[in-house]
């Protein structure tokens, strides 16, 4: 369904734009219907950039992104609108995603103007109510309020409901959980699970490994714009091969095991050392060449090269 092929995103840097900063390097992956694919990376890894490129909020510098075989980088006007009827996104900060001067229902009204102008009021209201109920929200509770009167969890769910109005096939969820409270996080996450069961493909972008592990079928670990490891979630988490992946897993705080124990189990090197080393270098250790992912086992790929 969605396919990225050696996508790159570069920015001009330096005094006269002579330098180049590659935020995303040669990223290739695919998302098929009915699965959640996690894109896990720390800050600066380029994960949000990939999300924005897929949503056409940012142009791709090199490489291609295709949806059902169609190159999305050339879409404009009506074709772009059709694309948005298939692919939608939800972002990190629920309070920034709503224009504070309008009621929360403004996000729905925009969609109605662009896609459902022909529907009568009662048809539209019925459709809206169905969508809100599908995300376990009571329409009466949320429709007539301003964003600051609602909670982060409600706002994020409304954004998901908004995406669902369009019968989308792919949802780009960019850190949608990180600004929610612990008690609401799991509910929104379970909602994604329900949507996946109904055939939606989801690209779940996050920095939180435990969330990725909980919800996704396949996982990609992104480091400085490059994919270093990818494959079935249980394989990537159960048998991490790349040193960076091991280090990430060893850094996640657990509730019943101390860090030292996990570090030993996973075989990672000292985390503080790694952090300090990352701060001192600007380029990833594995050089500038095209990163090749080698298959380590069935549905498990690792990038070669030293860390």
């Amino acid at each position: 369904m969605l396919e990225l092929d050696t996508c790159c995103k570069s920015y001009r840097t330096g005094a006269f734009g002579s330098g180049e900063l590659l935020a995303v390097r040669d990223v290739s992956f695919a998302v098929t219907p009915g699965e959640v694919v996690s894109l896990i990376g720390e800050s600066g890894s380029g994960k949000s950039t990939i999300g924005k490129m897929i949503l056409r909020l940012m142009p791709t510098s090199r490489g291609s992104i295709t949806f059902d075989g169609m190159d999305i980088s050339t879409l404009t006007g009506r074709k772009l609108k059709e694309y948005y009827a298939d692919v939608q996104g939800v972002f990190q900060d629920p309070f920034s995603s709503y224009n504070p001067i309008f009621k929360a229902s403004h996000v729905f009204a925009m969609l109605r103007n662009e896609y459902f102008a022909g529907l009568s009021s009662s048809e539209w209201n019925a459709k809206l109510e169905r969508s809100l109920e599908a995300v376990s929200l009571n329409p009466g509770d949320v429709l007539n309020k301003y964003p600051h009167q609602l909670s982060g969890g409600q706002l994020q769910r409304m954004l998901i409901a908004r995406a669902l109005l369009l019968q989308i096939r792919l949802l780009v969820a960019d850190e949608i959980i990180s600004m929610l409270d612990a008690s609401t996080r799991i509910d929104v996450l379970n909602l994604l699970g329900d949507l996946k069961a109904r055939g939606l493909g989801i690209l779940f972008i996050t920095h939180d490994l435990s969330l990725g592990n909980y919800i996704s079928e396949r996982t990609m670990i992104l480091r400085r714009g490059r994919i270093v490891e990818m494959g079935a979630t249980e394989k990537v988490f159960g048998n991490p091969l790349h040193p960076y992946t091991k280090m990430l897993i060893a850094s996640v705080p657990h509730l019943h095991k101390k860090w030292d124990q996990i570090e030993r189990e996973v075989g990672a090197s000292d985390v503080l050392e790694h952090v300090l080393r990352e701060e001192r270098t600007d380029e990833p250790g594995d050089g500038n060449g095209v990163a090749r992912l080698e298959q380590a086992e069935l549905d498990h790929f690792v990038a070669l090269g030293s860390d």
Binding site: K52, L55, R56, L57, L80, K81, Y84, Q88, G89, F91, Q92, D93, P94, F95, S96, S97, Y98, N99, P100, I101, K103, V107, M110, L111, E114, Y115, Y146, P147, H148, Q149, S151, G152, L159, S178, M179, L180, D181
Partner: protein, 319 residues
Amino acid sequence: MAVSKPGAGVMTTAGAPVPAEATGPISPQGAPAAAPITARRSEFLYFAFRNWKFVVGLAVVLFLFALAIFGPMLTPHEPLEFGGPTDQAPSSDYWFGTTSFGQDVFSQFVHGLRATFLVGLVGGGIAWLIGATVGFTAGYRSGWLDDVLNMITNVVLVIPTLAILIIVAAYVNVHSYATEAILVGLTSWPWAARAVRAQTFTLKTREFVDIARISGRRTRQIITTEIAPNMSSYLLMMFILLFGGAILIGASLDFLGLGPSESMSLGLMMNNAFLSSALLLGSWWWFIPPGVGIIGIVGGLYVMNVGLDEIFNPRLRDM
């Protein structure tokens, strides 16, 4: 969001002075969350009429505006009508006295107020429109369009406005205050464009703009419905500053004798007074009213603006 214009200060949308208990990764309550429109309006009125700068400034401007509208009906004399006694101090017949040519100063004053307000509104309005359009477009679009508009803005900004206007006015032979207003408007917009551009940059990175984009909204619509309303208080204050600035520039031109000569304005009054040595003759009634008039309008506007800044920005209030 600081602006490079005195008196504009820092802008935020108004919010109650309660800190959100910000303890999530980043404040899940959202630091400065704007209150709904109706609550904001009543909150605005609540604070507005307790702010003496706003009230006094507004009162002065409104009073002079009323004088401009109704004043000409109060006096039986025409502003350019000769025939009265010359150089006479204020009397019951001629409330502000007469000029060296026997004209009624009061009549000149109230007609002058009309012209001054006209130049301010039209000139300020044109500058506001150009500044806002250029600013929004440059700020939202980025890329080469931003670079081009930036270059134009900087060029117009750097040109010594008054000098250009003097030259243009000398050749174009300005006939009406509307023309003068247009000329003023065409040269005083750059700082407004830069300020709007900076604000637009900030707002463009907000996620609600991304949501609008993936809803299929077009650029122009996004600017007018999503971005501009978020800057409404700023745009209002910008207009007031442009209004005042246009009046000053127009008055300067008139004072130099480059404005229209067929009707009367406050600047022209001062010009005539100066040329007729009113100061030496002691005819204070000729040049003091127009001076006070200009100071009153422009000063009132600026004081009102400072008040508005305090009203819109809770952090500047002395609560």
